[in-house]
């Protein structure tokens, strides 16, 4: 998606709008802020961010933003931690929302509650979708503001649905329907080899993310808000895992073993799978490359609908001087205003982070042209925080390993989750 000329006009209007909304008066002294950001999606992201910085500088002559593109999320986190230990962290950065605990444990960031001053500020902090704020909250304070956020959705191939005798306009709404549809959509050749699977839920790299959707749908959750306890071995989780295993092993409607995240969209285009779960961030990719009509739907429900959130938050670093912090806050405030959030969402495919953003003219126009964009938004009311704890990388790995062990039949779901639970709780022991 490109930022069109129209987009930029809207952006200008937005900027003027937010300037009028009583953001702090410009300072007389110049403040220069370093802003680290990663890129996780395709498109000319650096140009967009540079444009934002320029625009902001025009509105706030006293503050200069210097955006630094720092690679993937992983790279950005590494670079930030290194810079932090070297005593020279950025003033603000976009980092994974799930890294909040790590940043907190490193004593690196300040809560936004300490930076808000006016009633308008306080209202702004409440203006985001609550699901997006969950990962940024520790000790009742907000440490991260949602910026580039996503959530998984279901894509389906309408042609394949019609071939299988299903209504091409009706995606599965429940777990049972999902199994039933997937079985009907699975095609075999004369030798009995599968030529088209019904569904793919990728499980490579970070299998926990999509799996967490199943857990939430089954009425469970993986961790507590304090990030020092996990619930991997609860019945809700084990059942959800059994469901994912069964899709492949019992129903034969999904490829057995680990399904590669990266190749799943291609599998979808190649008609190797008729449905797939993947991030909303793939919307543009699918729109450009699917050689058949497709639909986008919320993930199906078991006890309830549900999905994890994903993506990055904005963080402000502690090391900055009070003046720099306030300037950084002003930038964050501006960057997450409805108009900017809408513009960023349209330009990148991320889910705009506040209800007000979806009410802006630019967003309304976009949605009218491309209705599937609203699916992720509508799903947000059912979404919950992504798996995030203290020692996040380590706990997540333990959990991923457990999931993969079950999916490759090395362990039963119950056993795999029991082992993962024990190991994760051992790692988290110092934090309880």
């Amino acid at each position: 998606m490109r930022v069109t000329r129209r987009g930029f006009t809207a952006l200008g209007a937005a900027a003027i709008g937010s300037a009028g909304l009583g953001v702090r008066p410009a300072r007389s002294t110049e403040v220069k802020l370093t802003f680290y950001y990663p890129i996780a999606v395709g498109g000319p992201i650096t140009k967009i961010v540079d444009g934002y910085a320029k625009r902001f500088a025009e509105l706030h002559p006293g503050i200069m933003i210097e955006p630094v593109y720092t690679g993937s999320y992983q790279d950005t986190m590494t670079k930030t931690l290194t810079a932090l230990k070297g005593g020279n962290p950025p003033h603000l950065a976009v980092l994974l929302a799930v890294d909040t605990f790590t940043l907190y444990d490193e004593d690196a960031i300040v809560p936004f509650d300490e930076l808000v001053q006016s009633e308008a500020d306080r209202a702004w902090m409440k203006s985001f979708y609550p699901a997006f704020l969950e990962n940024g909250a520790i000790d009742g304070k907000t440490w991260g503001i949602p910026f580039q956020r996503s959530t998984p959705v279901l894509y389906w191939n309408k042609e394949a649905f019609a071939e299988a005798g299903l209504d091409p306009e009706r995606p599965p709404a429940t777990w049972d329907e999902q199994v039933e549809f997937a079985k009907k959509l699975t095609k075999r050749d004369s030798a009995g080899n599968v030529t088209q699977y019904g569904i793919q839920i990728p499980s490579s790299g970070f299998p926990y993310w999509l799996f967490q959707g199943l857990v939430i749908q089954n009425g469970g959750q993986l961790m507590n808000a304090a990030g020092n306890e996990v619930y991997f071995d609860t019945p809700e989780v084990v059942e959800a895992l059994q469901y994912q295993v069964d899709l492949a092993r019992k129903h034969g409607a999904m490829a057995p073993g680990i399904i590669e995240w990266g190749t799943t969209p291609k599998d979808f285009f190649e008609r190797r799978t008729a449905m797939m779960w993947t991030t909303t961030g793939n919307l543009t990719n699918v729109r450009n490359n699917a050689p058949f009509p497709f639909g986008v739907a919320m993930l199906p429900a078991k006890k309830r609908r549900g999905a994890p959130t994903g993506g990055g938050n904005l963080f402000i670093f502690k090391r900055a001087t009070p003046a720099e912090r306030q300037a950084a806050f002003t930038f964050v405030r501006w960057l997450t205003s409805p108009e900017m959030a809408a513009d960023w969402g349209i330009a990148t495919g991320y889910v705009a982070t506040s209800p007000a953003a979806w009410e802006t003219p630019a967003m309304k126009k976009y949605v009218a042209e491309f209705p599937p964009a609203t699916v992720a938004r509508d799903q947000l009311q059912y979404a919950k925080a992504e798996l995030s704890t203290h020692e996040n990388q380590r706990v997540t790995k333990v959990f991923n390993d457990g999931l993969q062990a079950a999916l490759t039949l090395a362990k039963s779901p119950a056993q795999a989750m029991k082992d993962a639970q024990a190991e994760a709780m051992r790692i988290l022991a110092p934090y309880r």
């Binding site: 004593d107 790299g205 680990i258 990388q393 390993d401 457990g402």
Partner: protein, 292 residues
Amino acid sequence: MDRRIQAVYGWLLALPACVLLAAFTHWPAVASLIDSFWSTPRGRRPAQFVGFEHYRRMLADDPIFLQVVWNNFLYALVTVPAAIGLALLMALLVNERIRARGLVRLAYFTPTVLPMVAAANIWLFFYTPGYGLLNQILSAFGLPDTNFLGSRDTALWSVMVVTIWKEAGFFMIFYLAALQAIPPVLEEAARLEGASHLVYLRRVALPLLMPTTLFVLVNALIGAFRVVDHVVAMTQGGPDNASALLLFYIYETAFRFWDTGYASALTVVLLLVLGGISIAQVRLLDRRIHYR
């Protein structure tokens, strides 16, 4: 020249290189050992002396470590002989008067020039279930689709294939050179005595290739413990650590979990393995090969 001036010159000339070597090889090796006895400092919690705790954890509390070590030995045990065997075969084939020998040799050797990451990316594509090249071939023969990188049984083997593919051609050139260094009179003599070509190869050529084999063997063994580019690119050690190797685990521990203390202890293990290889090599050299 004055001995003392000689000494001073000698030291001065060697110094820059030696300082760098010490800074990036000797010191870090020693520092790994020291750090392996200390916990990882985090936030405002400084490092504490923990003695052999990391080593105890490795053996008693860390099933991943044991799996990774086992994987790595299996990996070495398979890739090293396979690559060497193929290299020898290739060298023997290319040493014959076959047609378009130059092209054949080029085909064998080219994978060596590719970066391991590039090779891994290409193979990632072949291994894709369904429409990947390998699975298309399998299905042409009516065989079931295989999820090479996504099943526990095949992931490590699939990684091994890439290693063998990339290494065999490299080792081939050493064998080829060694074969050509054998005086032609030897084969003539063998023929005069009525020995067949195969007998000549087995009785005369192969023994003469022993030093080359040892050289290649050591290189391959070291490589098996020190190259994990393809693991990073293809499987990230998955599924469930089925294809993780030791150096990859060190990388993951140090740069993903930021657990540098434990990573240092793991590094010490890797150094011990490499040291073991070199001691074995020296022993072998002393006993078996006399060429100096």
